[in-house]
C-alpha cells in the first residue's frame, strides 16, 4: 500500500448504503449488493453482516459452513469418491544457470525414500546459490517410477540401455563422465547407500580427483557436516563438489511439481568393461535373516497343511515367516516370528497365508511394499492392508501356486536348454 493511500479520506455515500440495506427500495436492484461488496463502518473497518452468512439448505433451513469449503458435498446429493488429487504448483526452470546432478539408486526401478531426500537436498542447495539452477536426475536401467515430477526432478537423463542393466559400474561411470563434460554440474549428489550409490559416487570422485563428503547429513551451500570415524565424529568443512548423503539428510519435495524434462546426452562411448557381471546367484532363502529378506511367505493360524506350506516356500524361493499363533503352537521356530514381539521385516513382497492381522503383526510388516493376503475371512485387517487378497481356502490356492511355479520353472529350463543348444 502506498503512503498517500493511508491519508486518503474515506468517502461514504449514506444514501446508497441505505438503498443497499433496504430491499424494498425501488432502486435496490440498481445498486450492487454482491457478496464481495464490502461494507465499511464509520471508522473505516470492514463490517460483516452476520445475517448474510451461510446459505439455505435443501430443507429450507439456514446452514452455516464453518469448514471453509472442506465439508463433503453431501448436501448437494453427490458423494465424493475418495480424496481429490491436488495439482501442486509447477516449479519451472527455463534457462538454468547451473545444474545440480542427483544419481538416484532406483531400487527395483523406483525412487527410494533416500533418493527423494537427496532430491530435496539438491533443491535446498539450489536455493542457497545465486541464479536459477536445475536439478538433474541421472537414472540407470529400467525405471518404473512415475513420480519424478513430484519428487523434484527438473531435468531427467534416463539411460535404459542393456549395457547399464545389473552390475555395470564402469559403463555407468563413463555415462557420468559424459554428463560432467556436457553440463558441468555445480554439485554431484549421491545417496550413500549399499544399493550402488556409494560405489558410483566414490568412483566418480576418484576419477575427477575430487574429495567427496561421505555420510553427509547437514548440508547447505557453504558448509557440510558429515559423519566420520564410523559415525563417532562430526566433520565440518566447506561443501565439496561431490556429496554422498546419509539417510534423512533433508526433507523430500512435497509442495511443488517439477518439469522432469528429458535431456539428450551426446553419444556415450562403450567402455571396455573389466568387471563382467555373471548374474545373481541363487541363495538359500532360509539362510537370509528374516529382517533383511526380500520375499517372505508367512503362515498363521489358518494353515493346516504345514508340509504343503514348506513346499510352497521352497518352490517359490521365499523366506519363511510366521505369526505368533503359529509359533506358540509349535509349528514354526521362534526366530521366524514376524511382528512387534518377533522380527520387524522389510520385505518388498509379503504373502500372508491364513493371518488375519493382529495389530502387533501389522506393525511388524509396516515397511513391506506389497502385501498379498490369502485368507478365508474377507473382513480381516490383513485384507484391508493387502494390495491383493484372495478369499478362500488357503490350501487350494497354495496348491495352485505350487503348480504354476513348477510349470514356470519347467518352461524356463526348456528355454535355457534351447539357448544352450
Amino acid at each position: 500500500m502506498s503512503g498517500e493511500g493511508s491519508f486518503e479520506v474515506l468517502r461514504r455515500d449514506p444514501r446508497a448504503e441505505w438503498i443497499a440495506r433496504n430491499r424494498l427500495h425501488p432502486l435496490h436492484g440498481t445498486i450492487n449488493v454482491g457478496e464481495e461488496a464490502e461494507v465499511r463502518g464509520p471508522s473505516g473497518l470492514i463490517r460483516k453482516n452476520p445475517h448474510k452468512v451461510g446459505f439455505i439448505g435443501p430443507n429450507g433451513i439456514k446452514r452455516i459452513d464453518r469448514l471453509k469449503g472442506n465439508a463433503t458435498a453431501a448436501g448437494l446429493g453427490r458423494r465424493s469418491s475418495g480424496p481429490q488429487e491436488v495439482q501442486l504448483p509447477l516449479h519451472a526452470v527455463e534457462n538454468p544457470d547451473f545444474y545440480i546432478v542427483v544419481v538416484p539408486d532406483l531400487v527395483g526401478g523406483r525412487l527410494t525414500s533416500q533418493d527423494k531426500d537427496v532430491l530435496g537436498q539438491a533443491h535446498k542447495l539450489v536455493k542457497g546459490i545465486d541464479g536459477e539452477g536445475a536439478v538433474v536426475a541421472v537414472c540407470f536401467g529400467e525405471s518404473k517410477e512415475e513420480g519424478y515430477d513430484t519428487a523434484g526432478v527438473d531435468r531427467l537423463i534416463h539411460l535404459g540401455g542393456e549395457e547399464y542393466e545389473g552390475f555395470a559400474p564402469e559403463q555407468r561411470l563413463a555415462a557420468l563422465m559424459q554428463v560432467e563434460a556436457q553440463l558441468q554440474p555445480k554439485h554431484w549428489l549421491f545417496p550413500d547407500s549399499v544399493h550402488g550409490g556409494a560405489d558410483l559416487g566414490s568412483r566418480l570422485a576418484a576419477r575427477l580427483s575430487e574429495r567427496p563428503a561421505v555420510q553427509a547429513w547437514q548440508v547447505d551451500h557453504a558448509s557440510t557436516v558429515s559423519r566420520g570415524a564410523s559415525g563417532s565424529k562430526d566433520i565440518q568443512r566447506a561443501t565439496p563438489r561431490i556429496l554422498l548423503l546419509a539417510e534423512e539428510c533433508a526433507d523430500p519435495i512435497d509442495e511443488t511439481r517439477h518439469e522432469a524434462q528429458a535431456i539428450e546426452l551426446a553419444a556415450i562411448p562403450l567402455t571396455i568393461t573389466r568387471l563382467k557381471d555373471q548374474g545373481q546367484v541363487a541363495v538359500d532363502p532360509n539362510a537370509i535373516p528374516l529382517a533383511e529378506a526380500e520375499f517372505i511367505l508367512s503362515a498363521g493360524n489358518g494353515i493346516h497343511n504345514w508340509e504343503q506350506f514348506h513346499e510352497a516356500a521352497e518352490v517359490l524361493g521365499a523366506t519363511e515367516g510366521a505369526s505368533r499363533v503359529a509359533v506358540d503352537d509349535g509349528f514354526m521356530p521362534r526366530f521366524r516370528q514376524v511382528g512387534a514381539t518377533g522380527t520387524w521385516v522389510t520385505a518388498r513382497v509379503y504373502i500372508a497365508v491364513g493371518i488375519s492381522g493382529a495389530i502387533q503383526h501389522m506393525q511388524g510388516i509396516g515397511q513391506c511394499d506389497k502385501v498379498i493376503a490369502i485368507n478365508s475371512d474377507a473382513g480381516c485387517d490383513m485384507v484391508k492392508r493387502a494390495a491383493l487378497s484372495a478369499i478362500g481356502d488357503s490350501e487350494e490356492v497354495l496348491a495352485e501356486l505350487i503348480k504354476l511355479m513348477q510349470a514356470h520353472k519347467a518352461e524356463q529350463a526348456e528355454g535355457g536348454d534351447q539357448n544352450a543348444a
Binding site: A229, L275, K276, D277, V283, L388, V397, H408
Partner: protein, 259 residues
C-alpha cells in the same frame, strides 16, 4: 608363480567403548587373504600405513601372521600416496581392503583412489573369492538383503571386503607379540585439506517428525485421529482358486521376486 595378495589393515574402533581394536572388515580382508593362501598357494602380505609402534597391529599378527609390513606415516599424513607408491613396486595381484575405515575420515575412498592410481579394476563389497583360473578371478559380491552376485575380473584388481565375508579368526596373544613388524620408509604427504576441517564428537541426529501440513482444523483433526487408510487393494472373492493363484503369480512376476 604364486599370486601376491596384499591385505591392507587399519586401526579399528569399538563401536560401544570407543577403544582401539582390530577393524572388523580389515580382519575379514586378512582372513580372506589367509584362506586364499591355502587354496591358491598365494603369498599374503599384510600392510599397514601408519605407526609401526601401534599395539593394535599385534592383534592382526595374532591371527597367525609371521610378519607385518608397515609404511611409517605420521598422524596427519595421507595414506594413499604411500600405499600407491608401495603397491606399484610390490608386484601385487590382489589388494584387499575393508569397505570403510573405523577411524579417521572413514570415507571408504582408499580402495577407489588406489584402483584409479594403479589403473586396476575395483570390485566393491565382496563376500568371497570363489576361484582364480588363468588370471581371471570369480568373485561373489555381497548385495543388500543377503543376495549375492557373481562377477569375474582379470588380475590384478583391488577389492573391498564386505561384512558378509567370512568372519576373522580369533587372534592369539603370544604369536601376535612374537610376530615381526617391519617398518619401512614411505612417501609422506601431509593431508592439508583435512587440516582445515573442524572435528567434533558426533551429535545425535534429530528424528524426523511427521509434519501435518493441514490448512484447517478439520484436516488436522483427521490427521491426528484417522487411521492411515491405504488404498484398498484388489479383493478376489468369487474367483476360483486357480484364478486367484494366477493373479498372485502375475504380481510376483511383476515385482521380480521370482525369476
Amino acid at each position: 608363480m604364486p599370486l601376491n595378495v596384499v591385505s591392507l589393515v587399519s586401526v579399528g574402533r569399538h563401536p560401544q567403548s570407543g577403544r582401539q581394536r582390530r577393524a572388523e572388515q580389515d580382519g575379514r580382508a586378512v582372513e580372506l587373504g589367509m584362506n586364499l593362501k591355502v587354496v591358491q598357494n598365494s603369498q599374503l602380505t599384510v600392510l599397514h600405513a601408519g605407526a609401526s609402534s601401534e599395539p593394535v597391529l599385534r592383534t592382526y599378527a595374532g591371527m597367525g601372521l609371521p610378519e607385518l609390513k608397515v609404511l611409517e606415516l605420521a598422524e596427519q599424513d595421507d595414506a594413499v600416496p604411500a600405499l600407491g607408491d608401495y603397491l606399484q613396486s610390490a608386484n601385487a595381484d590382489i589388494v584387499l581392503t575393508g569397505v570403510r575405515a573405523e577411524s579417521g575420515e572413514s570415507s571408504g575412498m582408499v580402495p577407489y583412489l588406489l584402483a584409479e592410481q594403479l589403473g586396476w579394476p575395483l570390485v566393491p563389497r565382496i563376500a568371497d573369492i570363489v576361484s582364480i583360473d588363468d588370471g581371471v578371478a570369480e568373485i561373489l559380491l555381497a548385495l543388500p538383503r543377503g543376495q549375492r552376485r557373481a562377477v569375474s575380473v582379470p588380475l590384478p584388481f583391488v577389492a573391498s571386503v564386505d561384512n558378509a565375508a567370512a568372519e576373522a579368526r580369533q587372534t592369539a596373544y603370544g604369536p601376535g607379540m612374537r610376530a615381526r613388524i617391519e617398518g619401512n620408509k614411505a612417501v609422506t604427504e601431509v593431508d592439508e585439506v583435512r587440516a582445515g576441517w573442524q572435528e567434533s564428537d558426533a551429535k545425535p541426529r534429530p528424528k524426523r517428525l511427521k509434519v501435518v501440513k493441514a490448512k484447517t482444523a478439520a484436516d488436522r483433526f483427521k490427521a491426528a485421529t484417522a487411521k492411515p487408510q491405504g488404498k484398498a487393494g484388489k479383493v478376489m472373492k468369487s474367483e476360483s482358486a486357480k484364478e486367484q493363484a494366477e493373479e498372485i503369480f502375475k504380481l510376483l512376476l511383476e515385482e521380480k521376486v521370482i525369476k
